[in-house]
């Protein structure tokens, strides 16, 4: 059982800390243009964080106790593949979900 003090401390400090992180550059810079070398790095922020964030969740899914799972692996490949081909987030998501349930369904009946 988590103590009430722990929960409230985490909510307040994590909330404040997360706001400070989000406000950091927006709050300080106040419209001054950032140098070109910094902009060139920041263009790759999203593609630098999200693939790394998701890769362990695909390779070592918690639901299977961290072992490679064909359904989740194929769903991930379908999702990225359709996203690359269609340039459409929604189409990619549908492809991932359909593949996941299809393979889970097939393996359940084997």
């Amino acid at each position: 059982m988590i103590s009430s003090t722990t929960i409230w401390t985490v909510i307040v400090v994590l909330g404040l800390g997360t706001f400070v992180i989000r406000f950091s550059f927006l709050g300080m810079t106040g419209g001054r243009p950032l140098p070109e070398w910094m902009l060139r790095h920041l263009r790759y922020t999203a593609v630098a964080v999200l693939p790394g964030l998701v890769a362990p969740l695909v390779i070592w899914p918690a639901a299977t106790g961290g072992t490679l799972d064909p359904a989740r692996m194929l769903a991930a490949l379908a999702c990225v593949g359709v996203g690359l081909w269609s340039r459409n987030v929604l189409a990619a998501m549908v492809a991932g979900a359909v593949t996941l349930y299809a393979v889970l369904g097939v393996t359940a009946f084997l």
Binding site: I7, L14, R22, R43
Partner: protein, 240 residues
């Protein structure tokens, strides 16, 4: 080409934000369910989503609290997960840095993965937009996304433990992230950055507290910037 007014940009933002509801629905409900299963009362579960409003770090903090991790480590780890948002903040600053202080504070509070993804891709495509138009667009994208996050947490907290395992909702979150990645890989530099991120994040997964991910992300950004320079075929003047 028709000029975009703040009003039309706002509704463009709403339309761009709506698809993320499909992403957020399982994610938000799952958080409500997981928090309730961990023994958090309804008020604390709701405050978690309203005050922190960052799904990945909420899940991280919750999991560590369930494991009876010391509070300081819970906080350090969950904040490390959110450090990527400093990069979001920095990359939106050229577009929104001219806004009033209270507007920037409000933008910062609502700066989540979905609103960032909408804003950065739209602002890059519409370099002619004015500051007012961009701000209107951002809050348009906030409208379908952020209030839903609170509502979905509430639904999850209320339905609690009744979701069957066969729905495999655990993979809803990875699919959300994966779906965003494909369309982002516009150039060789983006592809190189993404591959670097994956390889290093997996290789450095043994480093505790998500620090491996931070190192991987920084290296991936540098690789992206380097490949971009190489693709231009000429060296940029080094800035001091």
């Amino acid at each position: 080409m028709a000029t975009t007014t703040p009003k039309t940009a706002f509704w463009q933002g709403v339309r761009d934000g709506v698809p993320f509801l499909l992403v957020l629905t399982p994610f938000g409900i799952l958080f409500g369910v997981a928090a309730t299963e961990a023994g958090l009362p309804l008020l604390e579960t709701m405050l978690f989503s309203v005050v922190v409003i960052a799904g990945a770090s909420q899940f991280t903090a919750l999991q560590l609290m369930v494991d009876q991790t010391p509070v300081l480590i819970v906080l350090a780890t969950a904040l490390a997960v959110n450090l990527r948002m400093a990069m979001y903040s920095a990359s939106l600053t050229p577009y929104l840095g001219g806004a009033k202080l209270w507007e920037r504070a409000l933008i910062a509070y609502f700066l989540v993965d979905a609103t960032y993804a909408c804003a950065i891709s739209r602002f890059e495509r519409e370099p002619g937009w004015t500051l007012r138009t961009r701000i209107a667009y951002f809050f348009g994208a906030v409208l379908p996304v952020c209030p839903s996050w609170y509502g979905l947490t509430l639904i999850g907290a209320l339905i609690g433990t009744t979701i069957p395992d066969w729905l495999a909702l655990d993979f809803a979150v990875p699919i959300c992230f994966l779906a965003m990645i494909g369309p982002m890989l516009r150039t060789a530099a983006h592809l190189a950055a993404a591959l670097t991120s994956v390889i290093l994040a997996l290789a450095l997964a043994f480093i505790p507290y998500s620090l491996g991910l931070l190192i991987a992300a920084l290296a991936a950004m540098m690789v992206g910037a380097w490949v971009e320079l190489r693709m231009q075929g000429r060296a940029q003047p080094v800035q001091s």
